[in-house]
Symmetry: C2
Subunit: 253 residues, 2 copies
DNA sequence: AAAAAACCTGACCAAATAGTCGAAAAAAAT
DNA sequence: ATTTTTTTCGACTATTTGGTCAGGTTTTTT
């Protein structure tokens, strides 16, 4: 039986408990949101994000998170019950920030503006929370066992809706024909690659790590790629052309 | 001292042994390539690829690989010494098939042809060995601890060389200006996303899993994306236009 | 102030797991 | 045929790790 007090999660039968996720975890009696609780949970989640990102679910030990959070291990169990509970809470947190960027795709907007804002948002996320991106990537690569329900419902719905908006834009002649779904996959791929595969990018660019300048270059490159793909620009947009026509590659300052 | 016979790898001091990788593992006395050895190593590596891809390095147990390969666990240790040795051997194998596709970028080729062939190759790899792609992706996300040397030497060199070819094409006015390095990152990202994040893509497309048709669609989409980005096509290429050209917007040229 | 609730934590398990060993079977070499 | 090398594999071990717990401390409520 569960001990610590708040660990609960009764009926500890199945190890692969299919908690809905998104349904805001019906588990722990998160009672109120007491001052300390709020603080400590946040502290733990922040630590967990870094550790899970570096090591993956199985490579992560509760001990490691505890040390990163500078709290005794038993505390993590006090607040989140199990390792999986903690992981789930973390995923919830990460996912929240993930779908919101979609709101840029409003029917009445200029496609070019929408795409630009979307890419900028995504890249900002990549810069500010690369760990979150890695946690998510890791989860998907390993079969999305904890988020498959989310993917098939909320994400799919959102994507379908926004794909419809893009289809309308195309129909209205406001942008070149592109499969909206695959366009999204490409957008996700090219933006997240700078968070998930940062090490590889840095290695190829011969830098110790990706700096802000590199990510700005990347953003401009992606914007150009997207806008050209959608027939929304014929030449590199104003901001820092990647090459002066005729000139030879004066890339990143 | 090591047991089984061939496990060797003396001087077992550092757990994080920095074996060069690529330097063809100076460890196990892979003696000859005796009939059985060849066969069994291959069998084990095949099993390992699947298991490592699904579960990541830490999530993988030697037992699981052994079962997948239908061999006793001790045999894996006999052939590869340690779990890490096996993992390393697997990475070597995967990496081999990774850089070769670069050979499409020859100075005297037509850019459009080179890109087309490259993308097709990458997508073929994605279809035929999605597991290999996942193993690699996982390794990079978690810091590329085993392949960082490879990334900083062989991969970087190859990329730089091919980036120069592309820069020449641009200078010669054979394609639109694009930062060659970032172009590569984008190419990798959009092609591998269909292997690494297949679950997500399938979920959004409302399919149980990605089929050949989906990957063909993806390939066409990517080709369009790349060619438009490089100013090598104004309209979707013949194969399965993603939308009927009923639209105006005869963008760039 | 006193009672109750929430929080903290060192010490302690049981299970899982990488790696080992020894002896026997199979293959290859002589 | 005999020796030598390679391969097989059940059983064993040391270590790691998720999770528990009892009793203490702090905070909140009444």
């Amino acid at each position: 039986m569960p001990g610590g007090g708040a660990t609960a999660q009764k009926s500890g039968e199945e190890p692969h408990d299919q908690t809905p996720l998104l349904a805001d975890v019906p588990a722990l009696p998160r009672s109120n949101g007491s001052r300390t609780r709020q603080l400590n949970e946040d502290r733990i989640l922040r630590a967990a994000e870094a550790v899970f990102a570096e090591a993956g679910f199985n490579g992560t030990t509760m001990q490691a998170i505890a040390e990163a959070a500078k709290l005794p291990k038993a505390n993590l169990h006090y607040y989140f019950g199990t390792k999986e509970g903690l992981y789930r809470a973390l995923l919830n947190r990460v996912l929240d920030g993930w779908v919101d960027a979609f709101d840029h795709f409003q029917p009445d907007r200029e496609p070019a503006d929408a795409f630009t804002d979307y890419v900028r948002d995504k890249m900002r996320f990549t810069r500010q929370r690369p760990m979150a991106s890695k946690v998510f990537a890791n989860e998907i690569i390993h079969g999305a066992q904890h988020v498959s329900h989310y993917l098939k419902t909320k994400l799919r719905d959102r994507v379908d809706k926004k794909a419809a908006v893009i289809a309308d834009w195309i129909r209205a002649g406001k942008m070149a024909p592109v499969d909206p779904h695959h366009l999204f996959f490409s957008l996700w791929a090219v933006t997240q690659t700078y968070a998930d595969f940062d090490v590889q990018v840095a290695a190829v660019l011969a830098k110790p790590r990706l700096g802000r300048g590199d990510l700005d270059d990347a953003t401009n490159h992606i914007l150009m790629l997207v806008l050209r793909t959608c027939g929304l620009s014929e030449a590199p947009p104003g901001a820092r052309p990647e090459t002066r026509p005729e000139t030879r590659i004066e890339h990143h300052t």
